[in-house]
């Protein structure tokens, strides 16, 4: 029953705000804490993959499995950090960094054609053949001035992606 905001003191709230660089307001942090406690069924202080997958809307997302690799075992601080990329107050650079990390699964700072193919496979499933996928990626890379052996960096992502077209804003429901 101790899932109310009284679990977070004012000191906790300020610390968490600094941690996420002031992206979330205190009310949003309180709301996210309630949500965290609702997802963390057994009150362990971290959320397991199964508990994320118990949310049907998340489970049917094509990138759910990929995201779980970064989400598994997150405590509340990490939970807030991950979601901060989706706040309206997060910068374009912050959002692109999140997207870059989804592609760069081995964390070496480079995204190759194969990384792009892997994400594309998650997104298209069996509705595109491997050849079709390769064709699309090679054409996209070449048109943009890269080659199939190129390794894209975070800077490249910043340039290629379009700030206006990015749709990464989730509103935190505060009461």
């Amino acid at each position: 029953m101790g899932n109310s905001s009284s679990m977070l003191t004012q000191y906790d709230l300020e610390e968490l705000q600094t941690h996420c660089q002031g992206i979330f307001s205190q009310r949003e942090i309180v709301a996210l804490y309630e949500r965290f406690c609702a997802l963390d069924r057994t009150g362990k202080g971290f959320i397991l993959s199964d508990e994320f997958m118990a949310v049907p809307e998340f489970a049917l997302n094509p990138l759910a499995e990929r995201l779980l690799r970064t989400l598994e075992g997150v405590n509340f601080k990490e939970f807030i950090t991950l979601l901060s990329a989706f706040s309206a107050r997060a910068s374009y650079e912050h959002k692109v960094e999140f997207i870059f990390r989804v592609y760069d699964s081995d964390r070496n700072g480079k995204v190759t054609m194969y990384d792009i193919l892997e994400v594309l496979r998650d997104l298209s499933g069996s509705f595109l053949t491997d050849d079709q996928r390769k064709q699309v990626v090679i054409q996209a890379l070449e048109e943009a001035g890269f080659s199939e052996d190129s390794a894209l960096t975070y800077q490249d992502f910043l340039e290629v992606l379009n700030k206006a077209g990015l749709k990464m804003e989730v509103e935190v429901p505060v009461d």
Binding site: S124, E143, N162
Partner: protein
């Protein structure tokens, strides 16, 4: 480096060309050469859906017990509340328990002899058994001081009809049963509830199902059909949601009750949370704990509406019929609808749902590839 230089020259050309055409084309074509790569790498809408589901989702909301605002935070309200707690637990609860025990003794003392002795005289036996079941349900309702208001015409015993209601707790069944001896379709439970189910409820003609068996649906559909066609059987009550929901939302109705070829009489139930929240969260509480919680509260207040019987319209599928009836019930009870299957509480969504998204995405990508070829 040279390639970049020539690349940006042609990009400039395209920019001037596209400026005139911008009304015809999509707004994002100042970077036309990088457009395909941009669209390919921009997974933000998909990520957004995932993050949105993590932050809040309509399915989890259906099973949340909303903690009501505490009102006992004052210097004089708090002692009053304490007094209330003491009264409820030490005086009210024992009285109710006693009442319940006496009721059970009377019930069992009458039920089993009648069940055994009148074996040959089924008509009278069934009438008496029905009366006894209605009696014990009234005792149950009294044991948590149920304040139930019934609206609409009481269910009548007629062939070719089923009753459907929204589901919040097993007490839904008790509340409806005290007015009419329904036959019900239920999940078999363990423990003392299961014992009750196999003895008393069998005599009413209840049907059991097993969520975990996949072929079960067909077996149950058969049993339902047979029951409805039998003119001697008790009116059948079905909870099409298949699981308990928190009485603020309804999940999708299973179509089983709606493809029996008979009239469907909707029943809407809405609990007033003023004294206690009647939602039974079966993952958090056992039924015994749930009952004790009800019996140590002041009262259980609810409204029951018997709505107009509906039949399937020509050209309407069973699912559309189910949704239409769910609409009626949700409107009457003042609760919201969500488009999720209640069984997702126990199972992951079927991969078909993910595949639909993948298919849509693939079509968009192919379209974009064709679009860039045309420019």
């Amino acid at each position: 480096m040279p390639s970049l230089f020539t690349h940006s020259a042609s990009e400039m050309d395209l920019y001037e060309y596209n400026a005139e055409d911008s009304m015809v084309k999509s707004p994002v074509d100042s970077q036309n050469k990088k457009l395909l790569l941009c669209n390919l790498l921009d997974i933000s809408p998909v990520l957004n859906e995932a993050a949105s589901a993590i932050v809040d989702d309509s399915f989890t909301r259906c099973f949340k017990s909303n903690i009501s605002e505490p009102w006992n935070w004052n210097i004089y309200l708090f002692p009053l509340w304490c007094l209330g707690v003491v009264f409820r637990h030490t005086i009210l609860f024992p009285i109710r328990l006693l009442l319940l025990a006496i009721g059970w003794v009377i019930f069992l003392a009458c039920f089993y002899p009648i069940h055994m002795l009148l074996k040959g005289h089924d008509n009278i036996r069934q009438k008496l058994e029905r009366g006894l079941v209605e009696f014990i349900c009234s005792v149950f309702v009294a044991s948590w001081t149920g304040v139930v208001k019934y609206h609409g015409p009481r269910p009548s015993r007629r062939p070719k009809q089923v009753f459907v209601a929204n589901h919040t707790s097993m007490i839904d069944f008790v509340i409806l049963e005290q007015m009419t001896a329904f036959a019900v379709i239920m999940q078999k439970h363990p423990g003392w509830v299961g014992l009750l189910q196999t003895t008393v409820l069998e005599s009413l003609g209840c049907i059991w199902f097993n969520r975990t068996e996949s072929k079960d649906r067909l077996i149950v559909a058969e049993k339902l059909k047979r029951h409805v066609e039998d003119p001697e059987s008790n009116p059948l009550l079905i909870f099409p949601e298949g699981t308990c929901v928190n009485n603020e939302y309804t999940v999708m109705f299973k179509k089983g009750a709606f493809e029996l070829g008979c009239a469907v009489c909707p029943v809407a139930i809405k609990y007033n949370k003023i004294f206690v929240d009647a939602f039974w969260n079966s993952k958090k509480q056992s039924f015994t704990t749930h009952l004790i919680q009800l019996m140590t509260s002041w009262a259980v207040v609810c409204d029951v509406w018997y709505l107009e019987p509906q039949t399937i319209r020509p050209g309407e599928t069973a699912i559309e019929f189910a949704e239409r009836v769910r609409d009626m019930i949700a409107k009457r009870a003042g609760i919201k609808k969500v488009p999720w299957d209640g069984y997702l509480k126990y199972y992951r969504p079927s991969p078909k749902m993910t595949e639909k998204k993948q298919q849509k995405y693939s079509e968009t990508i192919v379209q974009q590839l064709q679009d860039t070829r045309l420019t």
